[in-house]
């Protein structure tokens, strides 16, 4: 019976709400109230605001220009005064007193904005725009303004610190890939990246990357998108929000919507944005400057390859830098002095100039927007440049009253030059970890016109300080050109047909097509991991990728009122996704004639590789939701996929989702105002997403080698056992959320809790190699991720004078656990370097760090020492923690006063561990400042006596060792080099000034803004010597650092014209 009484209350509430609608309020003659509602912040019209007189249950919503108009019947009120209120969530309401006298009353409102909009219109799955208040799943939308507070090469960088539930790692290399994961990693060994949709087209974020062991990071393809063209970014965090995008959406969806034209009465609108920034490395190691190159305190240069005293080695345990005269690579008997800034001096100040100009316009039948963007970037690594040119055309045409068409076409050319190598074998920072602290960087800079013979080195080598292990870093960047270029088209055409009121059919087809080429040339003398044969004149590697993904869909959408309080929204359709990827690589380690980087000039048999991949997924899908009044929404989605990559007959899989949401404050108006509540919504959803395998996983095949051994062909059977019976993998997710606003929106909260897991994972489970195979493709394993995320908006200060402090806090906590692996498998290696291993280990969070530690006494826990140094454990099976942070968060603040605003964003990561090989080798080689302690074994600095138990005597250790002996003995143990990866960064700063409107208006612009911006200005961390935020790859091998380039610290100026 309780149900009935509640229902009647609901019915009354619905009736009351309905009574507020303009249709009901429209009446005979009386007083007409009209006016315009604009934003006090930017003067823009406020659309969808409700203006009304609550007592009389009369009012209207504002139109696209912010105008409202309604009439109070004479019978209702005449000659009396009433309170007219304008309110819209996201703005502070305003009330004026009016007199209802029968003559028209014109009242304009300027509403100050409040913290965050909870009922704004957002872009949801399939590009459908819905009010956020009816959504049943977590979704966050970032506006163009919030996204582009500062400028960066990559749109993902610009999301850092702004979105809850998202983990973003900036690239460890200039222009490199960055990694984004929503709500934790789902997949043990597969892709954990969300799918990116640009204006309805699924686009590739394929990356060509290295890892901490070496390689080159050629970035990820999402960096092609020009952030200035983006109108909004919608982040659909869970699979719940994403079931309609198919398999890949199990990891979430990021919908990028570009700016469109609009009806301007045929007048042209122009917008422009330009910024100039200066970049420097944010963190460099803390080097010692008291001892130079050498070992055991001695050094003498003869030929840089071992003929002198340690002149072929590259550590800094040499003589004291006291100005004594020593033969050096720069000449005989040179003063032996420190060059404290030699590493810093290698790097340049980077410069970026980013410009976007866009024009738009149209009539009510046709409109278009065209934009041209150009980025010209000089990185902080010498000779490293990036050029991006970007053109985007968005057009829309109404052919007749039923038929309309939208089209967009984007062309991008993204060119990188001389990207620095990464990691152990190629990293440009590597040789500053193995380094002579006395090395004069200016002497290396002046290498031109000299070769190795200038200082007794090999004549075929460039002038350098060491010929055994290193190349001159300037020469590497200047004389070993690496060019990469991507030409890309992203386009989509959609034809819409209005079948009847509220029923539309759409056929659309969109493609993302690119060619990506890497032309890498190694000069003679290149020794850093290129395999160049010194007998010849250098070598090259040429990579050509072609990627084409097409999605064609036919859908029918329906939005129909059913009776007076119910609205049905439904979508049904089908689609075909086709993927094609083709790559060829040509390389040789030797050239016959210098400077001709052509395969016909190969002195060493060129190595050729070719891979072709196809996939097709056919789908049918549908979604439906039912909205009751403006307070209840319930719905679901369903999808069936047929994938080419699963076994015939077993390749069909179905997955559903369901959700419900209720806006409590609309259901029970009486709630409003209590406890300061002005808006309250609860939501819950559940979803399942199926996923197919990668292509060609069903049969084990033989791989051939393109190179011939004495003209003989060679084949080998693949290392991974295929599985002819693969099933789709399944992700389950449940989610609840609350969206609350208090004090008329000055405080808003959008919080979600989720529980999800992915099971039947398709991955290559390791097997004993003694079986003849390293892995077997299986359907096994399960990862669970449970978490909580919240976005809190606050307006602590808002005064009549126009002073506003707007603050946004986001918080995310995700708990990951590998709950199942394949039978008999307790761990899976994700990556390893120098005795540190990143593993997916049973019952640990995903990404556990294992490695060699020190041996400790079993009973007392004391360190066991032998000869005064700790003893590494024999096996790398000591657990050091996990790479997963405990929580991450961001705090954005904008303080504005009249036409000046100051913005700052703090981005933090707490907890989780990392293993820094830079720190390990920096100690081993004695370049870091902390290796000064215990350097010499004399009366002044009597070495180091490590506290612990001597394993031979069983007594407290008394043996003193020098830091050189100590650090060179401990190194197989990673124990000292696993750090708490926490950091807080002052991620973005912007101080902006709007020119007085009299200037901008005269030029027909709504605003002209000038700003000073900064990125990554300060980093607070306990990790020594490195930037704790690093990534070499968009893949799952994270958490081990070596010679990572620090994220740039940048300062910039920007100039923006808003139409």
């Amino acid at each position: 019976m309780q149900y009935r009484s509640r229902f009647s209350r609901l019915a009354i509430a619905a009736f009351l709400l309905a009574g507020l609608s303009p249709a009901v309020a429209a009446a005979q003659q009386g007083t007409t109230l009209s006016g315009r509602v604009t934003s006090a912040t930017n003067g823009q019209p406020v659309v969808g605001a409700f203006v009304g007189i609550t007592d009389l249950r009369a009012g209207a919503q504002t139109d696209a220009e912010g105008r409202y108009n309604f009439t109070i019947p004479a019978t209702s009120a005449h000659g009396q005064t009433a309170f007219l209120t304008a309110r819209r969530l996201g703005f502070q309401p305003s009330t004026v007193q009016v007199t209802l006298s029968g003559t028209g009353v014109i009242t304009d409102f300027r509403l100050p904005a409040v913290a965050a909009a909870l009922d704004e219109v957002v872009v949801t799955a399939l590009g459908i725009e819905r009010k956020k208040s009816v959504l049943g799943t977590a979704q966050q939308q970032i506006s163009s303004t919030d996204l582009n507070q500062t400028s960066s090469m990559n749109v993902i960088n610009q999301l850092q610190g702004k979105v809850s539930g998202v983990k973003i790692t900036g690239s460890g290399t200039q222009g490199g890939s960055n990694r984004i994961v929503l709500r934790g990693e789902n997949s043990i060994n597969g892709n954990n990246s969300p799918v990116f949709i640009v204006d309805g087209v699924a686009i590739s974020n394929r990356a060509r990357v290295g890892d901490p062991a070496g390689g080159y990071d050629f970035g990820s393809a999402i960096s092609d998108i020009n952030p200035d063209d983006i109108e909004s970014v919608s982040i659909l965090k869970g699979p719940n929000a994403a079931a309609l995008y198919g398999s890949r959406a199990a990891n979430g969806v990021i919908i990028l919507t570009t700016k469109k034209g609009g009806s301007t009465n045929s007048r042209m609108r122009m917008e422009a944005n330009t910024s100039y920034t200066w970049e420097t490395p944010s963190i460099l190691p803390d080097y010692q400057n008291q001892y130079g190159q050498g070992a055991g305190g001695s050094f003498k240069y003869v030929d840089g390859q071992g003929s002198g005293d340690c002149d072929g080695c590259d550590q800094s345990y040499g003589p004291k830098l006291d100005g004594r005269l020593i033969d050096q690579f720069t000449g005989k008997q040179q003063p032996w002095i420190a060059h404290p800034d030699n590493v810093k001096d290698f790097f340049a100040t980077g410069h970026s100039l980013n410009t976007t100009v866009a024009m738009s316009g149209g009539t009510d039948r046709a409109n278009a927007r065209v934009s041209i963007g150009a980025d010209n970037i000089d990185g902080y690594v010498p000779n490293n440049t990036f050029h991006k040119t970007n053109g985007l055309l968005n057009a829309s045409l109404k052919l007749n009253s039923r038929l309309s068409s939208d089209a967009n076409l984007q062309y991008v050319r993204n060119v990188g030059a001389n990207r620095p190598g990464v990691g152990y074998t190629n990293g440009i920072m590597e040789q500053f970890v193995w380094f002579g602290r006395q090395v004069d960087m200016e002497a290396l800079r002046a290498y031109a016109g000299k070769n190795g013979s200038a200082n007794n080195g090999p004549a075929s080598r460039e002038f350098n300080w060491n010929y055994n292990y290193h190349n001159n870093p300037f020469w590497l960047q200047q004389d070993n050109p690496v060019q990469d270029a991507r030409d890309r088209f992203i386009g989509r055409v959609a034809l819409n047909y209005k079948l009847s009121d509220g029923i539309n059919a759409q056929v659309s087809s969109g493609s993302d097509i690119y060619r990506f080429g890497i032309d890498q040339r190694w000069a003679q003398g290149q020794i850093t991991g290129s395999g160049i044969d010194q007998k010849y004149f250098g070598g090259f590697r040429n990579i050509n990728d072609y990627s084409n993904e097409n999605n064609t869909n036919a859908v029918v959408t329906l939005a129909k009122p059913l009776g007076s309080h119910l609205v049905l929204n439904a979508t049904g359709g089908g689609g075909i996704r086709r993927e094609f990827f083709n790559t060829t690589t040509t390389s040789t380690t030797g050239l016959t004639v210098p400077n001709i980087y052509n395969v016909s000039n190969a002195a060493v048999t060129p190595s050729l590789a070719q891979t072709l991949q196809r996939r097709q997924v056919n789908s049918t899908y549908g979604s439906a939701d039912l909205t009751l009044g403006d307070w209840f929404n319930v719905g679901g989605t369903a999808r069936n996929d047929w994938s080419s990559t699963l076994p015939s007959g077993l390749n069909s899989y179905f997955y559903p989702s369901g959700f419900a949401s209720v806006v409590l404050t609309n259901l029970m108006q009486s709630m409003k105002g209590k406890l300061g509540i002005s808006y309250a919504k609860l939501r819950a959803s559940t979803a399942q997403v199926g996923n197919d395998a990668d292509p060609y996983q069903l049969r084990t095949t033989y791989s051939g080698l393109s190179t011939k051994y004495f003209a003989l062909a060679q084949f080998t059977l693949g290392d991974a056992l295929a599985n002819a019976e693969l099933k789709p993998e399944i992700t389950h997710s449940n989610e609840i959320g609350a969206e609350l606003a208090f004090f008329e929106g000055r405080v808003t909260v959008d919080a979600s809790g989720y529980w999800k897991y992915t099971k039947n994972q398709i991955f290559n489970a390791p097997v004993s190699t003694a079986s003849g195979f390293t892995a077997k493709s299986v359907n096994a394993g399960k990862i669970t991720n449970n978490g909580f995320e919240a976005l809190v908006g606050l307006i602590p200060i808002q005064t009549e004078s126009g002073l506003t402090w707007n603050s946004t806090v986001n918080f995310s906590r995700n708990t990951s656990k590998v709950t199942e692996l394949a039978p008999g498998v307790s761990t899976l290696l994700l990556g390893s370097l120098w005795n540190g291993r990143i593993e997916a280990r049973l019952n640990q969070p995903y990404g556990a760090i294992y490695g060699k530690g020190f041996q400790h006494d079993a009973t007392t826990g004391e360190l066991l020492l032998s000869g005064g140094v700790p003893m590494p454990t024999a096996t790398p099976t000591v657990f050091f923690g996990t790479i997963q942070p405990d929580w991450t968060g961001g705090w954005a603040n904008t303080i504005s006063f009249k036409n000046v605003s100051v913005y700052a964003l703090l981005d933090t990561r707490r907890g989780g561990k990392l293993y820094s090989v830079t720190n390990m080798f920096g100690d081993n080689t004695g370049v870091l400042s902390r290796t000064l302690y215990g350097r010499e074994q004399d009366w002044d600095k009597p070495g180091v006596v490590i506290k612990g138990k001597d394993v031979d005597t069983g007594q407290e250790n008394t043996i003193s060792v020098t830091s050189e002996q100590y650090f060179q003995s401990i190194y197989p143990s990673i124990e000292p080099y696993v750090y708490d990866a926490s950091y807080t960064k002052l991620r973005e700063v912007r101080v902006a000034f709007d020119l007085p409107s009299r200037f901008s208006n005269r030029l027909n612009f709504s605003a002209i803004t000038m700003a000073i911006t900064g990125r990554n200005l300060v980093t607070w961390t306990s990790v020594p010597n490195i930037d704790p935020e690093f990534s070499y790859t968009t893949g799952n091998y994270q958490g081990i650092e070596f010679a990572a380039l620090p994220n740039p610290r940048s300062w910039g100026l920007s100039f923006r014209i808003t139409p």
Binding site: G574, S771, V951
Partner: protein
């Protein structure tokens, strides 16, 4: 009208989607791998597997940067962690174990299956011989290893976590496999050989027989301390099997490298960019002590003094190496291993084409000499001197020493065969020299014979014994834990005395010498010589 048309188009598209979706076969046909075949002929498999096998056991990791230091042919003068046994744990050595099984051993197994199916001994026997040659390195390095149930991951019911078999059973099977191979080859015709796809003997079946019998003799002799009866029986069988053992250097099992920059001798590849290898003081003392004419071939003059040859001690700290400046004051390995220009200078010229010696006649003659001295294999002590001289002359010839110089070397009192226990010591030492570049065999022979006796851990080594075996791969403890642990327990004794031993084992970088069958003091009665450390 437009309405109706569009509706038709719309339904048409929807139907097309449904039709495509339901046509499962057409869709899954897209998934046929266009890049790699599902079957290939045995020839190209053999070429690749043989190349990878030779490069693995005689290449840069197992040989050059691990066992050549353990056997003290070479020493490391910069960042000498390996030479101090710091970098000889499972994570550092497991690559050879994992790689051998998952790459070439698997392919040899495929070839054997194909050859047996087509009834071609000329195809399956060479693969079985190569497989056994390789398993010899594996079991002599790790002890008990997966063998009988190994390499069957792709067959129905095949194990993905094979059990570890006792070394004794593995040895027994070696002899059976080699026996069958030699016999089957005797009946084979030239038409079913691998032909030119065989990079070792180009399809010469007699040479394959001799290689099979020589490997049989190598493994048989290794049992001499623990199972002299089997050793004797198998030596006899090997010497008398069809084809016999190697009879001259022309029988040598050699893996050639074209030196085309793609397939170069692995040592030369390493020396292109790394200059941290020098001759060990241990080998240089012996070469110089006997005026060995191989000295200027094995080694180069020191960088500091072109008139001088010198070694550098194994297992010293970087500081000690730097203080004595061994980079400068010790000899690089011979110029024959360098392929011209390196990153740090020019040395030698044709090292890229230098072949890998998988097994030589010199080794076989030393086996015969030792068998003769011990009166095994149907040989008598009186024959020992002849085999000893032949072995030394073969080694000299193999390394390019003139016959005159070789004879002069042999004529020295310290070299002339002494017979008895001193003769066995001479055989041990000379064999160790002849095995230069084959670090794995040199290390195995030292573990069996303790010759040369001057092999001791370096002063700064992290262990007080030279390691006797490698640790099992880390991966085995996660995916094959029950089996790998079972083999461990079968060798570990219990009791208070052994606790101490275990402690030392942990410290001594895998020097647990209880885990190898044949590295053990033999009962005195079987011993003719004082051959133990």
């Amino acid at each position: 009208m437009t309405y109706r048309k569009l509706l038709m188009v719309g339904s048409g598209v929807a139907l097309a989607v449904m039709a495509a979706a339901c046509n499962s076969d057409k869709l899954t046909n897209l998934n046929t791998n266009p890049n790699s075949p599902e079957d290939v002929p045995p020839g190209p498999l053999f070429t690749n597997a043989a190349r990878v096998a030779a490069s693995r056991w005689l290449g840069t990791t197992y040989s050059l940067r691990q066992t050549e230091w353990l056997s003290q042919h070479l020493s490391e003068v910069q960042y000498n962690d390996e030479d101090r046994y710091l970098r000889l744990h499972a994570g550092d050595t497991e690559g050879s174990f994992n790689g051998a099984y998952s790459a070439e051993l698997k392919d040899f197994t495929q070839i054997i299956a194909k050859g047996v199916a087509s009834g071609s001994p000329g195809t399956y026997a060479p693969a079985a011989i190569m497989r056994t040659w390789e398993f010899g390195y594996l079991t002599d390095t790790w002890g008990d290893i997966p063998y009988f149930t190994a390499l069957k991951g792709d067959s129905i019911g095949g194990s993905l976590s094979p059990v570890y078999d006792a070394q004794k059973a593995i040895y027994t099977d070696f002899f059976a496999v080699l026996d069958k191979a030699a016999k089957d080859l005797a009946g084979a015709t030239a038409t079913n050989t691998l032909g030119t796809a065989d990079p070792v003997y180009a399809g010469n079946l007699l040479r394959w027989q001799r290689f099979a019998n020589s490997i049989r003799a190598r493994q048989a002799l290794r049992l001499i301390n623990v199972d002299p009866t089997t050793a004797n029986a198998q030596l006899t069988a090997a010497f008398n099997a069809p084809g016999g053992v190697f009879q001259s250097n022309t029988d040598n099992a050699i893996f050639k490298f074209p030196g085309d920059g793609v397939y170069d001798n692995p040592w030369s590849v390493n020396f292109k960019t790394r200059d941290d290898h020098r001759m060990s003081l241990t080998i240089m003392n012996i070469l110089q002590g006997n005026n060995d004419p191989r000295l200027p071939i094995f080694a180069q003059p020191t960088p500091a003094d072109p008139t001088k040859y010198a070694g550098s001690p194994n297992g010293i700290s970087p500081a000690r190496a730097a203080a004595a400046n061994y980079v400068l004051n010790a000899s690089r390995p011979g110029a024959i291993f360098y392929s011209g220009k390196t990153a740090y200078g020019t040395f030698g010229g044709s090292g890229n084409t230098y072949p890998s010696y998988m097994m030589t006649y010199a080794e076989v003659a030393f086996i015969q000499a030792e068998a003769a001295e011990r009166g095994l294999g149907g040989l008598t002590p009186g024959q020992a001197a002849g085999f000893y001289n032949a072995a030394i002359l073969a080694s000299m010839a193999q390394w390019g020493v003139s016959t005159a110089n070789a004879n002069a070397f042999l004529a020295q009192p310290s070299i002339a065969y002494a017979g008895g226990t001193p003769g066995l010591v001479q055989i041990g030492q000379q064999k160790w020299l002849a095995l230069f570049t084959d670090g794995g065999q040199a290390w195995a022979e030292w573990r069996r014979t303790c010759q040369p006796a001057t092999i001791k851990p370096g002063v700064d080594a992290s262990a007080s014994n030279v390691p006797r075996r490698f640790e099992y791969p880390v991966l085995e403890y996660t995916v094959n834990e029950a089996n790998v642990s079972a083999t461990k327990t079968s060798h570990v004794c219990t009791g208070t005395r052994v606790r101490l031993l275990l402690l030392r084992t942990l410290r001594d970088a895998g020097s647990d010498n209880t885990k190898l069958l044949w590295v053990r003091k033999a009962p005195r009665k079987f011993s003719r010589g004082a051959f133990f450390c």
